[in-house]
């Protein structure tokens, strides 16, 4: 009995970051629900989830990489170019599935390239993915797509369904986010590959000594992130019927990192779960939606977002202090 009490107290004494973020999200939700008329309506909640779906989908891929103690700054670039190329191919007369297959192959190629550079040449992921992201965008703009925006051809309704359709009354982007989250959760918690990714993030050398094929695993995690980026790209392109490749100059990739880190996936790797991504995405969604309804201008929204990110990183550092084991290149 005493042990159980101590256990509970321990749980509450040092709550996990996930729990803190969840509590903040609930508090924000209640605050907005009370102060803003219509905030808590089903319609608004659906619109809110819909607006964070793409961010959430990208975050599931980023989560896999970050748990493996990596970072994928090329994700948004891969998303934009692979989706825009798919649209360009469709405009050239190709049917949906071959065009999607080629787009996916392109995304995977960049993902594998990322993983190979990081695993075999041992370049820190920060620099490797920053560079490949620019290469991906450059090659895309130069060789693959004609303009900054790509548009689906007229009458591509099957394509538009991905982003604009509904399944049992729920918009498709939310469905895709849920499917991605459930799949990644299952992969991370129930499969050998998933457990190995945790091992890789926690202590790469120990994982290698245990017999984990560390290098192929790194390649896998980046390829997976690129795969998720492609899915997110299709969702984004079909939901507004255009792909704006300028999105690579936006803060989207940092928003993705914000969501990942916010929920408690440590940048030191080896910690966190998809639940944290969902919780983090919900908090961001609630904040952005509430501020949009309050008509706070977007610069002020960015300030609010960055303060939240900073707070999350500080809390992350407090809860998971840096030590020699989690130290990595590029930190100093």
């Amino acid at each position: 009995m005493a042990g159980l009490l101590a256990g509970l107290l321990g749980r509450f004494g040092k709550p996990s970051q996930e729990l803190i973020v969840f509590a903040i999200a609930v508090a924000c939700f209640i605050f907005f629900a009370v102060s803003l008329q219509g905030f808590a309506s089903i319609g608004n909640i659906v619109a809110m989830l819909r607006s964070i779906a793409i961010l959430g989908i990208l975050s599931t891929g980023m989560a896999v990489v970050v748990i493996g103690r990596g970072l994928d700054l090329s994700q948004v670039s891969v998303m934009a170019i692979s989706a825009a190329w798919t649209l360009t191919l469709m405009n050239g007369g190709m049917t949906l599935f071959p065009a999607m297959a080629l787009g996916l192959l392109f995304a995977l190629a960049i993902g594998v390239l990322n993983g190979w550079i990081i695993a075999f040449i041992e370049i820190p992921p920060l620099f490797a993915t920053l560079a490949t992201g620019l290469v991906c965008f450059g090659v895309g703009r130069w060789l693959l797509i004609d303009s900054v925006h790509a548009y689906p051809p007229k009458g591509a309704d099957d394509f538009l369904f991905i982003g604009q359709g509904h399944l049992v009354g729920i918009p498709m982007p939310i469905i895709i986010f849920i499917v991605a989250a459930v799949f990644v959760h299952w992969m991370l918690s129930r499969t050998v590959v998933g457990r190995h990714i945790f091992g890789l993030g926690d202590n790469m050398l120990a994982a290698r000594l245990m017999g984990v094929a560390v290098r192929p695993l790194i390649i896998f995690s980046y390829a997976f992130s690129a795969f998720i980026a492609f899915i997110a790209g299709l969702t984004m392109a079909s939901s507004v019927a255009s792909m704006n490749t300028e999105v690579i100059n936006s803060t989207l990739v940092f928003d993705v990192l914000l969501v990942v880190v916010l929920g408690g996936i440590s940048l030191s790797g080896g910690r966190g779960s998809i639940v944290s991504v969902v919780v983090g995405a919900c908090l961001i969604g609630i904040l952005l939606n509430g501020m949009t309804i309050l008509n706070v201008n977007s610069d002020a929204q960015n300030i609010a977002k960055s303060v939240v990110l900073l707070a999350a990183i500080v809390i992350d550092r407090r809860l998971h202090p840096k030590d020699e084991e989690t130290d990595k290149q590029g930190d100093h």
Binding site: A47, Y151, A241
Partner: protein, 340 residues
């Protein structure tokens, strides 16, 4: 005899008339002291081999691709050199490109400003250095040699007046989707809109967030606003391509046709497609290929009149075509032009 005298008189009068007319014609041709050949050779001297450089915010958009083609076609046709730099939406790259062109002393620099402030100093330096600066469609706070583009305030007012007409009787709730808060087009367009709204007193702006020229952001903002204001009458923004995102959100809410979507910008194929599918309701557009030609026309006049950079600032305002979803035709829009 009498007949002969009359005949002689008539011939004399006719001859005198012809002589006077001819004399008058010669006099008219020499008012400027130049024959047509001389004017033509001045034209060639003033323009042949001169360079016009164009720096848009980014190529690859319908708007800037049309400008690129318009300036290129018109400039090369009269023997000018044409250079274009594509900063791909990167402000540092854009600033570097402009600085490089200034130090190369290009003759005419055509720039689309992302912001009212950011290049104002560079333009002053350019004009002191002997380069004419023509600001295209989006001006800065610096009055340079010339401005070619939309008269944004009256443009915004025209759109605003139409919204007042459509919405005054329907509750008057309007959402503005801004582009970039500090971009000239955005600033002045909104001034015009608000002028019209305030004059009517019947419009209530329920939201005016910036989507940073991004259709996805415009979509999310509009989706949130619609939840809060299901009786919204219209949503309006300064760029049609961005407003397509807004239109998608309205379509998802099943309110296409109920909530009006107003856009503005270059009349390009995606705009006409969106009008036809009802994603946009009205588009106040212009032909940016012809704006490119306007730029070169202005350069031709400046060169021949030998004005110094910034000596006599002028503006050439672009006429606006209003396209509505009920009346839009295929020829109203230009097809996209790829890279050259």
């Amino acid at each position: 005899m009498k007949r002969n005298i009359l005949k002689g008189l008539a011939v004399t009068v006719m001859a005198a008339t012809v002589a006077l007319a001819a004399g008058g014609a010669i006099a008219a041709g020499k008012i400027s002291g130049k024959t047509e050949r001389m004017v033509r050779s001045d034209f060639v001297d003033a323009l042949n081999g001169k360079t016009v450089a164009f720096v848009p915010i980014s190529l690859g958009l319908p708007l800037s691709d049309f400008w690129d083609a318009g300036i290129r076609d018109a400039a090369t046709a009269i023997g000018m050199n044409y250079v274009v730099k594509d900063p791909a939406w990167n402000m540092n790259a854009m600033s570097q490109a402009i600085s490089a062109l200034i130090s190369e002393k290009v003759d005419y620099l055509v720039v689309q400003n992302p912001d009212v402030q950011v290049f104002a100093k560079l333009f002053r330096k350019a004009e002191q250095n002997g380069t004419h600066v023509i600001q295209l469609n989006m001006a800065s706070n610096y009055r340079s040699s010339g401005f070619v583009g939309v008269d944004w305030v009256s443009h915004g007012q025209e759109v605003g007046d139409d919204i007042v007409k459509q919405c005054a009787a329907k509750g008057g709730k309007v959402a503005i989707v801004q582009g970039e808060l500090t971009a000239a087009a955005n600033v002045w367009f909104n001034v015009g809109l608000m002028k019209a709204f305030k004059a009517s007193g019947k419009i209530n702006v329920v939201n005016d967030q910036a989507a940073q020229w991004d259709a996805t952001k415009a979509h999310d903002i509009t989706a949130a606003v619609l939840q809060q204001h299901p009786d919204l009458c219209a949503t309006v923004g300064v760029w049609g391509i961005m407003m397509m995102g807004s239109g998608q959100a309205i379509k998802e809410a099943g309110k296409t046709g109920e909530v009006l979507v107003y856009g503005s910008g270059s009349n390009s194929r995606p705009v006409c497609d969106s009008l036809q599918t009802g994603i946009l309701d009205k588009h106040y557009g212009y032909d940016s290929y012809l704006q490119g030609r306007d730029v070169v026309n202005a350069i031709q006049a400046m060169a021949q009149m030998k004005v110094e950079p910034g000596e006599r600032p002028f503006a050439l305002y672009t006429p606006i075509d209003v396209l509505a979803k009920e009346t839009v035709a295929k020829d109203d829009c230009r097809d996209l032009m790829g890279k050259k």
